[in-house]
């Protein structure tokens, strides 16, 4: 790595900031300048290695940094100015906090003598972001910058990743200090437990070696540990069916014989039925989210639950496991693998085939053979034309469920979405960030007509940076997921869900993005083909059936046993 500053060299705080970013391996920064961070932008001028992406709104910067982090495994970095610039980051920070995404945000702050005086563009960003960051700092002296940065970049990725915010007063950016950088973070490293003890491994293996109907539920922790293969080896050794939570999708190839789908509110039939029958449930890198378990008391009633997670506070938080093990998913599974006996389990796997064919018949076939264009068909077509290898960045709502359910992910770490916070508008900037972080990926953004209008301004950034993302806009002129709930649970009272949308084709023209509109399956196929062949960003607006519903679904508050697979089943209840 080329560094510019020598240890002990006396420079302005702003330059120390840039140097620290360089040393942390940062290549791309998403940001927006303003009064309180101008010195940083001035220093940035001397650091052409740090590519700065000028977003159109700081929320876009935060989500882009998330997409970048997801695609690269490195912390995403944002710049924002004080006050409104910083407050605009908050949604993105909360999103990254819930989805364990490493991020370092650097905000400008009013000069330290003015702190607390309600100065122009002053906001107590430390106080405001405390609940939505893994840790945050207020730096008022140039001398402290290097230490804080080294610690922040360590914290963002250490253990369970998360967002870290550094608020730096303008005087600290301008003042001179000697540059002193050290990466040693022993005090914090000692606190992590990454491996299981021998005793724990013994307990896990004896439970699994004797299980009759074992089940794996794996989550984001698998992707964050950087390895899906060990999980697959564990599953293959004992013929254990694997389900992946929404944030764990693509951890193993979805066309693998042991992949049984995604559990949860709109999950797959097999993945929701299996917890009812399993006797040993191995949960790895997941946190028993309410969207996964539904009513907790009705979840996995017969199972001895083994819960492996890197975050000690997740063990016993939502579900009390029979055996809780703190550790990194890859490390613990790696320790476990040699202790497992090879086993076959044809009887248990056969059940899954029955559940799968039920869903095939009642859901997949209907959706995919629909005469009217359905979102499922669009996603399926994208999957086929991209050879199941593209990176899908999904927004929130029905489009998100279609992206999770109908793209058969065969390549590791290729599905990104806003799972925990459910932030509409996430996908457009996040997709951009993913592409900028890892240009080798074919990135498809899947988004609805509601979500795209929440961060629409980032189309301008995409054009300015010539970011080659393809955007699949599923337009039903409704806020589809809320509409579905209103149809099914609120007597069909469509309260404030109908959108009178802009002409998206003209909008694209205005932004300078090539676009097409597809209204049936034939046009869909052609449009995707054209989009993939054309250079630069491309948006396809798919006019999908206005009142389509995502099935199966588990009504809110119900147990997984109350899953309804089709509309007919629901109306019978």
């Amino acid at each position: 790595m080329k560094t510019r500053l020598k240890q002990g060299q006396k420079v302005q705080g702003a330059e120390i900031i840039c140097e620290c970013l360089l040393r942390a391996g940062v290549t791309v920064i998403f940001g927006y300048p303003g009064g309180a961070n101008i010195p940083i932008y001035d220093a940035l001028y001397k650091y052409p290695e740090l590519r700065h992406i000028l977003v159109r709104h700081e929320q876009g910067a935060a989500h882009a940094a998330e997409g970048y982090a997801w695609a690269t495994g490195r912390p995403g970095v944002c710049f924002a100015t004080s006050g409104p610039g910083a407050t605009n980051l908050i949604t993105g920070l909360a999103d990254a906090m819930l989805d364990s995404i490493p991020m370092v945000c650097i905000t400008g702050q009013v000069p330290s003598p003015l702190l607390g005086s309600d100065a122009f563009q002053e906001a107590d960003i430390l106080g405001m972001t405390l609940p939505v960051t893994k840790h945050n700092y207020l730096v008022t002296r140039a001398d402290d910058i290097a230490d804080v940065f080294a610690e922040a970049f360590y914290l963002a990725v250490a253990g369970r990743p998360g967002p870290v915010l550094i608020d730096i007063t303008k005087d600290a950016q301008v003042d001179y200090a000697e540059f002193r950088y050290k990466e040693n973070r022993d005090r914090l490293k000692k606190r992590l437990k990454l491996e299981a003890t021998e005793e724990e491994i013994g307990q896990i293996s004896s439970l699994l070696n004797e299980a009759l109907r074992p089940l794996i539920v794996a989550g984001h922790g698998i992707l964050l540990s950087g390895d899906g293969k060990t999980l697959l080896s564990v599953a293959e050794k004992q013929d254990i069916p694997v389900t992946l939570t929404q944030l764990g999708l693509s951890a193993i190839p979805h066309d693998h014989r042991l992949f049984m789908g995604m559990p949860g509110m709109h999950g797959n039939v097999a993945a929701n039925r299996a917890p009812l029958e399993t006797d040993v449930l191995l949960a790895v890198g997941m946190r028993f989210h309410d969207r996964v378990t539904s009513k907790v008391s009705a979840y996995a009633p017969q199972a001895k639950i083994i819960h492996i997670d890197i975050d000690p506070s997740e063990i016993g938080k939502n579900v009390m496991p029979h055996l809780g093990v703190v550790g990194d998913a890859k490390a613990v599974l790696g320790q476990l693998l040699p202790k497992l006996k090879s086993r076959k389990n044809p009887g248990w796997l056969k059940k899954f085939e029955a559940w799968k064919s039920e869903e095939q018949k009642k859901v997949f076939t209907r959706e995919l053979l629909s005469p009217k264009l359905k979102s499922a068909q669009v996603i399926d077509e994208i999957a086929r034309q991209t050879g199941f290898q593209a990176t899908i960045v999904a927004d929130v709502g029905q489009n998100q469920m279609y992206a999770a359910r109908y793209y058969q992910y065969r390549k590791y770490n290729t599905h990104f979405t806003s799972g925990g916070l459910g932030t509409m508008g996430f996908a457009l900037p996040a997709g951009m960030g993913a592409k900028l972080g890892d240009p080798g990926r074919e990135v498809w953004i899947v988004i609805g007509d509601g979500g795209i209008q929440m961060t629409l301004q980032e189309l301008a950034t995409i054009v300015q940076e010539k970011t080659e993302v393809k955007i699949a806009l599923l337009n039903n002129n409704y806020l589809g997921m809320v509409r579905q709930w209103q149809e099914l649970f609120y007597k069909g009272n469509y309260s404030e869900v109908k959108l009178k949308n802009p002409n998206f084709q003209k909008l694209c023209e205005g932004f300078g993005i090539s676009s097409l509109k597809a209204e049936n399956l034939k046009e869909t196929k052609e449009a995707i083909n054209i989009a993939r062949k054309s250079q630069g960003p491309f948006l396809i607006e798919f006019t999908v059936e206005a009142e389509e519903n995502v099935f199966p679904m588990i009504p809110a508050g119900a147990g997984i046993g109350e899953m309804v697979v089709s509309l007919e089943e629901l109306s019978k209840k």
Binding site: K134, S313, I315, G316, M320
Partner: protein, 160 residues
């Protein structure tokens, strides 16, 4: 007055905002803090917190794990009350009408092994230490007099 309480003892860096981070976490996890005492520990730069809250064992255990995640926290643990020696300090100011009443008050103080730390013309200020039950009982006994001010620190504790 005093319910079954759990003790959470926390060692944290003595830095700006650390107490706020800890308190905020209690609020976020929907705990009501019954008492909190904070002060320097035997190690320079390390602050020791004794916090008492009501909650079941599992909730408290989870809370401790959450606190331990705070970067500025060195260590946090929940400790059974019988593993601790602990005290509360209470201060009380009482109005005194006449010398007979003063005699009555001094007898109560003596019974609770308290001390009159200030005697003004018409008031007595009293210091009492002990566990919560003792302080509760002291307060009950003093209620018949004209209590002007009463303050108690909450539990502060050391391991046995």
């Amino acid at each position: 007055m005093t319910r079954q309480l759990s003790n959470i003892i926390i060692w944290a860096e003595n830095k700006t905002g650390v107490f706020f981070r800890i308190l905020w976490l209690f609020r976020r996890k929907q705990f009501n803090i019954e008492s909190a005492t904070v002060g320097h520990s035997e190690t320079p730069g390390i602050t020791r917190f004794t916090i008492t809250v009501a909650g079941n064992e599992n909730q408290i255990a989870n809370m401790v794990k959450q606190i331990t995640k705070l970067v500025n926290v060195i260590k946090a643990e929940t400790v059974a009350t019988d593993m601790l020696v602990y005290r509360e300090l209470a201060l009380m100011k009482v109005a005194v009408k006449n010398s007979r009443e003063k005699g009555d008050i001094l007898r109560v103080i003596e019974h609770f092994r308290g001390r009159a730390i200030n005697m003004a013309k018409n008031t007595v200020t009293i210091e009492v230490t002990g566990d919560e039950n003792k302080i509760d009982a002291f307060y009950e006994n003093m209620k018949d007099f004209a209590v002007l001010e009463f303050v108690r620190t909450g539990r502060t504790a050391l391991f046995k």
